[in-house]
Structure formats: C-alpha cells, structure tokens
C-alpha cells in the first residue's frame, strides 16, 4: 500500500488518467459524429455515397490504430505542419488534437457498423410506412428508423466506447502524456515497484470502463422497443 502511495506522490498518475478521460470523451464525440455521417452515406439511396461509406469503413477499420496515429503525427503535423490547435499552441496540445483525430477516424468505422447493425433490427415495413405517409429520406431516418435503431446499437456502441477508452493508450506513441505514458515513465524510473505499477494501471482502467459496461446493459433494457 505504501508503495502505491509513494508512486502516486512521485508521478502524475491522476493527471495521466485525466488525459485519458479527455482523449476518450472528445474522441467519442468525434467518432459518433463521423460515424453517423458514414452510416447515413452507407444507407442513402445515392450509389456514390454508398460506395464511399463502404470503402471508408473497410480501409480504416482494417488499418492498425498505431499506423493511423503515427501517420497523423508524422505526416500531417511534422511534415505538413498542419496546426490543429492554432498557430501558437504548444506541441503537446497540437499532438493531443492529432491524437483525437486519429482515434475519432479509427473508431468512427466501428460506430458506423454498430449503428448499421441497429438499423438492421428495424423491420423494413417501418421505413415503407414512413415513406408512404410522405416523409422524406431524412425524416424517415430521424423520426422512425434511428430512434428504433438506437436500441439495437447500444451494445455495439458501448463495446466501441470501452475499446476506445483502452485504445487511447496508443497515442502515448506520439508523446501524449496519458495514463500509459505515465506508466512507462514509472517502469523506467521505479522498476522495483513493477507489480504495484501494473495493478495501479489495470485498476485505473477498470474504474473507467466498468461503469460504461453497466450503463450499457441498463440502457439496452430501458430503451427496448416492444413489437
């Protein structure tokens, strides 16, 4: 116990996890917005959009996250010098936002597929009835299909959120000081506390992700649509 307390004093463990939370929340929002756009493209009646959506999902989903993260940092930030956080922001802030972009782009494919599987649980008659009373494509989606698809999407979206939380550790590769970055420092400089360090990290992530899982189970029952 005293080892844990000493580690907490010596290193910024809480700061690391706070960075993890910031990365998770911002990337979750980003991937939700991107994912919804992609899934609307995939189910739209326009062939070009369908193909783009399908291509995007298949290319991005099958690319390792590490590749996307380092590509964003090296190609877009280092080489092309695109400064997402404005021209004057520090490098650590710039890299935080590039990390968010990489995480959002990668996880948006899982969000899109999660929502699509939810949409597939809605009987086709619902869309036909909506169209037959004169609702447009957008109204059919927003009024009839998506509200019912949410229920079927909750579980896959929850899984994606949990995966995203843990995948934020990948951006330590570009020097964003989140939890696993702090962990590497601790292992480097306090190697005799190795077990305590691992337990601390595992516990931290479980504390973050366990409520998400519980919330998802609760929500999927709560949102059930009777048929």
């Amino acid at each position: 116990m005293s080892e844990l307390a000493q580690l907490m004093r010596q290193y910024d463990v809480l700061g690391g996890f706070w960075m993890t939370i910031k990365l998770t929340v911002v990337s979750a929002l980003g991937s939700l917005i991107l994912g919804v756009i992609v899934v609307i493209m995939r189910i739209s009646p326009v062939k070009a959009f369908q193909l783009f959506g399908k291509g995007y999902v298949n290319v991005i989903r099958n690319t390792p996250l590490t590749v996307i993260v380092t590509f964003c940092a090296l190609a877009f930030y280092n080489v092309l010098a695109w400064r997402l956080a404005g021209p004057d922001a520090r490098s650590s802030v710039q890299l935080f936002w590039w990390g968010v972009v990489a995480l959002s782009v990668y996880h948006s494919t899982f969000v899109a597929e999660g929502i699509r599987s939810g949409i597939n649980t809605v009987p086709p008659g619902q869309a036909e009835a909506a169209r037959s009373i004169g609702l447009t494509f957008g109204q059919t989606l927003s009024q009839v299909i998506l509200p019912q698809a949410v229920r079927g999407s909750v579980t896959p979206l929850g899984n994606t959120l949990i995966a995203l939380t843990k995948n934020t550790t990948v951006v330590s590769a570009i020097g964003v000081a989140e939890a696993s970055y702090v962990m590497k420092n601790m292992i480097e400089f306090s190697p005799n506390f190795i077990y305590a360090i691992f337990i601390l990290m595992a516990l931290g992530f479980v504390i973050l992700t366990l409520p998400v899982g519980m919330l998802v189970s609760w929500a999927s029952t709560k949102l059930a649509v009777q048929r």
Partner: protein, 260 residues
C-alpha cells in the same frame, strides 16, 4: 383533367368523378420473373376497385407500384394528372396524397397510437400540433380506438392496430387509399371490424384500391373487380358479373376454388 372513360365497368354503386389514377403499359420484372405484364388501369375519383387473384399473381406488387414502394421497368403511372416522380421531395409530396394500409400494419413501434396518427400531419403537412392532435383524436374516434390513444402499438390487438393504420393514412387527407391485403394477417374474429371501417370509407366516397381475399367486401363495396393472374389483368368487370358470370377460364378456376 381528362373525362373518365368507363372501361367495361358495369353499374356503379355511387357517383364517380373524373380520372384520378392511370396506369399505362406498366411492366416489371423481379429478375427472371415477369410480375407485371402490360398493366393498363384507369381509376376514377370515388371509385372502389378490388383486385383479386391467386397468390403470386402480382396484385400486391401492382398496389405497391402506385406509390412507388416498388419501381417499375417501363410504362407510366399518373396520379391526378401528374406522372409519378422517381426520386426525392416530389415523390414524397405525391406519396402524401396516396394513403397505404399494409398487411402487417407497420405502425411505428416506438410511438404511441396518437403520435402514429399525428406524425404525418405535423412533419409533412406542417400543421400545428394542437390542431393535428384534435383531428387525430377525431379519426381514432371514427375507427373506434379513441380509448387506446396513449398506448403503444404492441399493446393493441391486430384488428385495432389495423384500424389505427387506416386512421394514420386518413390523417393525411389522401386522394387515394391503397389497401394491400389489409385483413390477411388478422385473426378471423377481427377481420370484420376492419372491413366495417373500409366499407364506411367506401360509402363516404374515398377512392380505394383494395387487394384482398375478402369476397364479401368485393360484393358489398366494390364498383369494379380487377382479376389478375400471372402478372396480367385478365378480367375487369363489376362485382356481380364477375362472381356470377366470369368470362375467363382462370377466373372461373379461381372462383371455383374459393367459393364453395
């Protein structure tokens, strides 16, 4: 507006107006299957047309092409002088004028009965909520399910759900109502309550195209019977002539099987 040219229609139950729907040389394939072959049909305002035929004869497909839930390969469908648009807002506008009642009801499962009926008027017709709610309640009263307004579709019996579905279509003040086997998914004791609503609609002068196996309804409410077989319209006549004196062998064969 073209004057209505009666085809071989026979006597009519009530007065009908000018042409409102015209299908001309409509063709459709499902892969190899030729489901609609040179379909020509003219329907007048206020007319009730019952489409009969063995299963697989294309009668449901015909019904669904009229509001373009099914596309057609060639030919034209004209509603109130306007050719059916193929995409987008114009199509949505035209669909609002054509009510549709499905075999499987298709009430919006996440909305209450009242919300089901109000959705179209509020979102498509842009009517104020209070006004839409008032007329929705009147319609539910008319089809006899006013006391179920705050329930969800799954809590209602099939017959009640189908009557709500009719009210949902009526809420749009459609010019034509399509019924695609509206009683086929119902328990036998619930068929009559739905047919009663349909008969009263027919009596009220609604233009209706009804795909059904209910011969009683055809006799009671139809101005005209269209008999389909193998994707073709084989016979068009008034109900009395069709049931007592069919001309084609296929119609005779069909009637022989269903009327004992």
């Amino acid at each position: 507006m073209a004057a209505f040219i009666p085809e071989d229609t026979g006597p009519l139950v009530h007065d009908i107006g000018e042409t409102i729907l015209e299908l001309s040389h409509v063709e459709k394939h499902f892969g190899e299957l030729h489901v609609l072959q040179d379909i020509n049909l003219t329907v007048a305002r206020g007319e009730v047309v019952v489409v009969l035929g063995p299963s697989g004869s294309g009668k449901s497909t015909l019904c669904r092409t009229i509001n373009r839930l099914e596309t057609i390969d060639s030919g034209t469908i004209t509603i109130d002088g306007t050719e059916l648009p193929s995409e987008g807002k114009a199509l949505a506008r035209l669909r609002a004028e054509v009510g549709m009642v499905f075999q499987s009801f298709n009430l919006f499962a996440h909305k209450t009965i009242l919300e089901n009926v109000m959705l179209g008027p509020v979102k498509v017709r842009k009517r104020p909520r209070a006004e839409a709610e008032k007329s929705a309640r009147e319609l539910l009263e008319r089809v006899g399910v006013a006391n179920q307004a705050s329930k969800y579709p799954a809590q209602l019996s099939g017959g009640q759900q189908q009557r709500v579905a009719i009210a949902r279509s009526l809420a749009m003040d459609p010019q034509i109502m399509l019924f695609d086997e509206p009683t086929s998914a119902l328990d036998p004791e619930m068929v009559q309550e739905v047919l009663d609503v349909m008969v009263s609609l027919a009596r009220g002068g609604m233009t209706m195209i009804v795909v059904t196996h209910e011969m009683g309804f055809a006799r009671k409410a139809a101005n005209r019977v269209v008999f389909m077989s193998d994707g073709m319209i084989v016979e068009k006549s008034d109900p009395e002539t069709f049931f007592t004196n069919p001309t084609s062998d296929r119609a005779k064969d069909f009637l022989g099987k269903i009327l004992h």
